[in-house]
Symmetry: C2
Subunit: 228 residues, 2 copies
Amino acid sequence: LIDIREAWKTYQVGEVLIPAVRGVSLTVSAGEFLAITGPSGSGKSTFMHLLGCLDRLSSGSYGFEGRRVHELSRRELARLRNQRIGFVFQSFNLLARTTIVDNVALPLIYQGVRRAERRRRAAEMLERVGLGDRLRHHSNQLSGGQQQRVAVARALVTRPGMLLADEPTGNLDSKTSTEIMGLFRTLNEQDGITVVVVTHEADIAAYARRHVAFRDGQLVQDRSGASA
Amino acid sequence: LIDIREAWKTYQVGEVLIPAVRGVSLTVSAGEFLAITGPSGSGKSTFMHLLGCLDRLSSGSYGFEGRRVHELSRRELARLRNQRIGFVFQSFNLLARTTIVDNVALPLIYQGVRRAERRRRAAEMLERVGLGDRLRHHSNQLSGGQQQRVAVARALVTRPGMLLADEPTGNLDSKTSTEIMGLFRTLNEQDGITVVVVTHEADIAAYARRHVAFRDGQLVQDRSGASA
Ligand SMILES: Nc1ncnc2c1ncn2[C@@H]1O[C@H](COP(=O)(O)OP(=O)(O)OP(=O)(O)O)[C@@H](O)[C@H]1O
Ligand SMILES: Nc1ncnc2c1ncn2[C@@H]1O[C@H](COP(=O)(O)OP(=O)(O)OP(=O)(O)O)[C@@H](O)[C@H]1O
Ligand SMILES: [Mg+2]
Ligand SMILES: [Mg+2]
C-alpha cells in the first residue's frame, strides 16, 4: 500500500532550514495497524502530512497503491485524498461556526453524494463517536474532547481505505479513548482499513500490531509484536 | 483565594439549554496545587473559564482574592485577569502568523512593560519550556507539542498569582510532560503560585496535592493526599 523511500521534508524559516523529516523509508501493507511514537518536535506530524498527500516531499519517493504520489498534480492529489484517505488532524481543523453534521458531511460533497444521504451518513458517524445528542452544535460550541471526536467522524465518513490519526485521543478521558480506539480496531479487523496512529501514550500504541519510533526526523525503531 | 458558591453556567444552542456547570461550590487557598479530572464534556473547561474570569456565571457567586468577580465590569475583569491569572487554553489560542516571542510578550504590553524588557522576559520563558531555538518561528510553524509549550510560556510570563492550565500536556511526550509539570511544581513550591490543572492523565494529576472530579457538570469528589 505505502512505499516511501528516503523521504525528506525541509521547512524554511527566514534563512534557517529545518529538516523535519530526514531520509525516512517505510513500507506499509494494506490492512496493517501501525503506531508512530516519538518526542515532541521529532517529525511525526510532518511525516503524517506526507503520508496523507497533504504536503509534498522535499526529496525521495512515495508510492501509494502503486501510484507515484510525488509526481501527481495538485488536482490528482486532492482526488486521491478525498477518495482513499481519512485524516484526523492534531488540531482538528474543523469549521468553527458550522454545525458538526455539516462539518462531517463536507468530504461527501466532493464525492458527489446527495444531500439527504450526506446528512444521514454524517449523523450516523457522529452517533458512533458518542455525539448523537450534539448534532446541531457548531464545532466551537463543544468541549475539546467532543471536537476531537468530530474530527474522527469526519475522517471516517468517506469510508477511506486508509485512516491517518494524529494523536486522536489527546483530549479524551480513558473511557472515551477506549471507545475511539475500539472503533479503529473494529474498522481495521472487520473492514480491512489500514490504520496509522501517532500517539504519545503507550496504552494507545498498544492497539497497534506494529510500532515505529521517530527521533529527530528519523525512524529509529520498527517492531511488530504483541498488542493490547 | 477562590470562593465559588453554587456556580451555574448554562449555554443555549437554538432552543436547547445546556447546563454545563450545575451548582458547583469550591474553595481554594493561596498556594494550593489542585487537579481537576472528569469525562469529556463534563464541564471542566467551562468551569476553568469561570475561574479565570473569562466567562460570567449564569448564577452563583465567585469571590477571588476577596473581590466579588460576578459583580465586576468587563474592564475590571480584563485587568484582574492580566495582573493575577495565567491561563493555558486547551486549544492554545495563539496568534498563528506572529512569532512566538511576540505571542508570549503580548500580556506584558497590557502591563506597560517596555519593549526590550518584554522581549527579554518572553525569550527567557520560552527557553524554560525548551523552545529557545525556535524563537523566530510563527506559532503555525511549530509542532503541536511546541505550540502547547508556547501557550504555557505565555501564561507564565506575567508572573501570575494563579495558574490555570487546561490539559497542558495533551500533546506532549512523557519526557516533555515531566519537564512542564516539574516547572509547575517549582513555581508552586518556590514562588507560591496557586496551580489548577485539568487533566485526563492520572500521572499528571499525581503532581497535585488535592484532586477534585467533575461528572455531568457537578463536583463529585474532593480528596487531598499523597502525590507523586
Ligand atoms: N459554547 C458552547 N455552547 C454550547 N454548549 C457548549 C459550549 N461549550 C461547551 N458546551 C457544552 O458544555 C459541556 C461541557 O463542556 P466543557 O468544554 O466544559 O467540557 P470538558 O469537561 O472540558 O470536556 P473535555 O474533557 O472534552 O475538554 C459539553 O457537553 C459541551 O457540549
Ligand atoms: N510550518 C513549519 N515551518 C517551520 N518549521 C516547522 C513547521 N512545522 C513544523 N516545523 C518544525 O518541524 C519539526 C517537526 O515538527 P512536527 O510537527 O512534525 O513534530 P511532531 O513530532 O508532530 O511533534 P508533536 O509531538 O509536538 O506534535 C519541529 O521541530 C517543528 O518546529
Ligand atoms: Mg505533531
Ligand atoms: Mg475541556
